[in-house]
């Protein structure tokens, strides 16, 4: 199984990318897709855009490493991870994770695992842009301890290819 991993500046069609997963296949029983979307507000205040800075080279490597770990942990039939960088407008997708398996638990677990790791280990930094009149205010998003806690729950790996049910 060859995962699809893309880092890109351009917007993408999350639904079309998820649809690609099952095309012309009949071995997949479950597809989970997670799309992270740029919201138009942060803590109740309107934002005009997000800018994602990333560490080229390291971002690709880190994502690929975690995709390989997901493939080792769960019996996956497909994985797609797309992560954008650069300026992203409200309503646009930031990140997409699609996982496919013959049964649902593996697909759900792998998608959550990948998202928790992307949030805490992939070298991306979000900056919020707020506009009031002619003034543009930019602030870096702070990391959330809840995200670290979410990632920590995967620290003890289950045995390879845990038994799952459809």
């Amino acid at each position: 199984m060859t995962p699809t991993i893309r880092l890109q500046k351009e917007a993408f069609d999350a639904a079309a990318e998820a649809a690609r997963m099952t095309r012309a296949r009949t071995d997949i029983g479950a597809v989970v897709s997670f799309a992270g979307v740029c919201r138009g507000d942060e803590n109740g205040e309107a934002i005009s855009a997000l800018t994602l800075e990333h560490y080229p080279g390291m971002a690709e490597t880190e994502i690929a490493r975690h995709v390989e770990e997901a493939i080792a942990r769960w019996p996956l039939l497909g994985v797609t991870v797309i992560h954008r960088y650069g300026r992203i407008a409200p309503g646009e997708p930031i990140v997409l994770v699609v996982t496919a398996s013959s049964h649902r638990q593996a697909a759900f677990a792998a998608a959550e695992f990948l998202m928790d790791y992307l949030k805490t280990r992939a070298p991306f930094w979000k900056q919020i842009e707020k506009t009031s009149g002619a003034a543009v205010e930019k602030t870096w998003v702070e990391a959330k301890s809840a995200d670290d806690a979410a990632a920590d729950r995967w620290a003890v790996p289950p045995r390879r290819h845990e038994k799952t049910s459809a």
Binding site: H54, Y55, I94, L118, A122, E142
Partner: protein, 83 residues
């Protein structure tokens, strides 16, 4: 060796990367941060709370006790907020 800075570490230092040769006594990532913090106001501001700064050597996450000898590229950045 090459140093790279990201997000507000980059903004505080005022540059995205630089080539640097730390003195012989600087052996670990943590010691490198302490030494950099003495290089000027921007560096002092960037590293004022070294506990929150994350580091990578040659594009892999490392802890502050990692040894810098032989490193080609060392990066410093705030906690990641991707996804």
């Amino acid at each position: 060796m090459k140093l790279r800075y990201f997000a507000w570490v980059r903004e505080r230092i005022g540059k995205a990367e630089e080539d640097i040769e730390p003195p012989a006594g600087v052996a670990t990532v943590g010691e490198l941060m302490a030494w950099l913090a003495g290089k000027g106001d921007g560096y002092a501001y960037a590293f004022e709370n070294p506990k929150v700064i994350r580091a990578a050597i040659d594009k892999r996450h490392v802890r502050t006790d990692a040894r810098i000898k032989g490193a080609g590229e060392i990066a410093f950045f705030p906690p990641m907020t991707g996804g």
